[in-house]
């Protein structure tokens, strides 16, 4: 356990090294936050309470999206690019000989990364957004805690998806295509472009049932106090269920990959 804790800390510190990049990232998240906020204001001006949110909740949704974009890596990336590269070059063979579980190792590192991105790329845009607009911030500290737990589960789901994508490189060798498709799905089905409650009909129902909802839609609803009591339990169960299923799939795929696939010579 101590090993994975150290790996997680390493993940945190690795991303904390790039201070200038973090400041620049906060700038970009804030600019996008402003642009999308104004489009939402126009939209909710025409249709108040659209998708079950009032205007300040809708705006809060925008800034939560900017705050969680890097934390939950909705566009894909993070460790996945590195793992794909290790599979492509054959360095993965070295990893497989390490006395550590491959999946847990990368998960620990990714949790450390997510923790840094939540603090480094999440808090500042949220504060800036709350200075410029009236955000619906929770008053109950328990809601904040419930939100953090939901974000943590969202990160695990995000990791599990990206792990599957990365493992596909064992067969595809070039994982760029799979990563791109996963990134597109992440942007669209997480609620990053528009809250999933605004998606019409079947598209809405399907998108709310897919794992990507765990990355923004569900944490945002917890933050906005939409999920309390049994609703909150259901939200956690949804996220934990997807996390368990996808992690198990990743483990199974990893087993097949390491048994059957010949590692590329370096």
């Amino acid at each position: 356990m101590r090993l994975y804790w150290l790996v997680a800390r390493g993940g945190f510190r690795r991303y904390a090294t790039y201070r200038m990049a973090t400041v620049a990232g906060v700038f970009t998240n804030t600019v996008f936050g402003f642009i999308i906020t104004y489009t939402y204001i126009a939209l909710w001006h025409e249709r108040p309470r659209l998708g079950g949110y009032d205007l300040s909740q809708a705006i809060t949704f925008v800034w939560l999206g900017q705050a969680l974009l890097m934390t939950c890596e909705m566009m894909g990336g993070g460790f996945a690019d590195e793992l794909i590269e290790r599979i492509r070059t054959g360095n993965i063979a070295v990893d497989l000989y390490r006395p550590a579980d491959l999946q847990l190792w990368w998960l620990a590192g990714d949790l450390g990364r997510a923790a840094f991105h939540l603090i480094g790329r999440g808090v500042a845009p949220m504060v800036l957004g709350s200075l410029a607009f009236e955000l619906a911030l929770p008053v109950n500290p328990l809601t904040w805690l419930a939100f953090l737990l939901s974000v943590a589960l969202g990160v695990v789901v995000s990791f599990a998806i990206r792990y599957l994508v990365a493992l596909s490189a064992f067969w595809l060798l070039d994982g760029a295509g799979a990563a791109q498709i996963a990134g597109l799905a992440g942007m669209f089905f997480s609620g990053m472009l528009l809250p999933l409650t605004l998606f019409p009909g079947l598209l809405g129902e399907v998108s709310r049932a897919l794992p990507w909802a765990s990355m923004l839609q569900i944490p945002a609803d917890v933050f906005l106090g939409k999920s309390t009591g049994w609703e909150l339990v259901r939200a956690y169960a949804f996220q934990a269920g997807w996390a368990a299923a996808l992690l198990a799939a990743g483990r199974a795929l990893q087993g097949v990959a390491t048994r059957r696939v010949v590692v590329q010579g370096g």
Binding site: M20, F27, T28, I35, L43, Q180, M187
Partner: protein, 295 residues
Amino acid sequence: MAGTTEWVAGAAGPAGEVWVPRSTRWAALRDGLGAYLLIVRMWLRSTMAYRASFVMTAFGNFAATAFDFVTILLMFNHVDTLGGYSLQEVAFLYGTSTVAFGLTDLTVGSMDRLGSRVRDGTLDTLLLRPVPVLAQMAADRFALRRFGRVLQGALVLGYSLAVLDVDWTPLRVLMVPMMVVCGAVIFGAVFVAGAAFQFWAQDASQVQNAFTYGGTTLLQYPPGLFAKDLVRGVTFLVPLAFVNWLPALYVLDRQDPLGLPEFVAFLPPVVAVVCCALAGVLWRAGLRAYRSTGS
């Protein structure tokens, strides 16, 4: 680098032509363009070696940008107008902004890699070659797949032109290609200026993204949606409003939220030239200030 020295013999490129930098400004420009096209051709050939991969990534780029328009369609699923603009009008703004930005992204989209090249020291290699660094950076890893964005924007623009209820005078018709070309040049200047900024702030490429990707997102929506200070900022500070907002208001016969006189709609060519000059000054200053990391 090039431009002041007279090269007697140039290297013969893969296509057989001889590249010889000369001393005059125009010749230097022509040489830079020639070098750019040479590198682009090289990357094109390497891309086409993996045709299936190219088709997939091009489709990916098309789909990635298409989601932006799908978002707008989903919005209009709930409302008839956004900030007083109809779907057709928003599609016009979206199409002009996306095509202009897409052309820039296609031609000089790799400029934002400058920061990482400074960090890992590979910029030094570019400095040693007798080819303008700007041309090398712009053509670096030229990615034809980015044409997916241009195509997607062009389809939306075509749709909007077909359905828009506009009194098409010859002047209005001419405005459309003018917007796309001048818009692409203005965006190009922003790319170059952003890259020049990275000579100083090496790992701040995200700032550039805010102006480029953020800029094109902003221009996809009617200017009236945004706070006046923001509109002033992208009119007078970083003149993105000249890419499509100001000329589009003329085409659509709409009021400009800042109440600027009508002739500003015809200024994009002037603004584009001024932007390029300023970006050029910034680029040269950045190149002079460059210190290799030595790694």
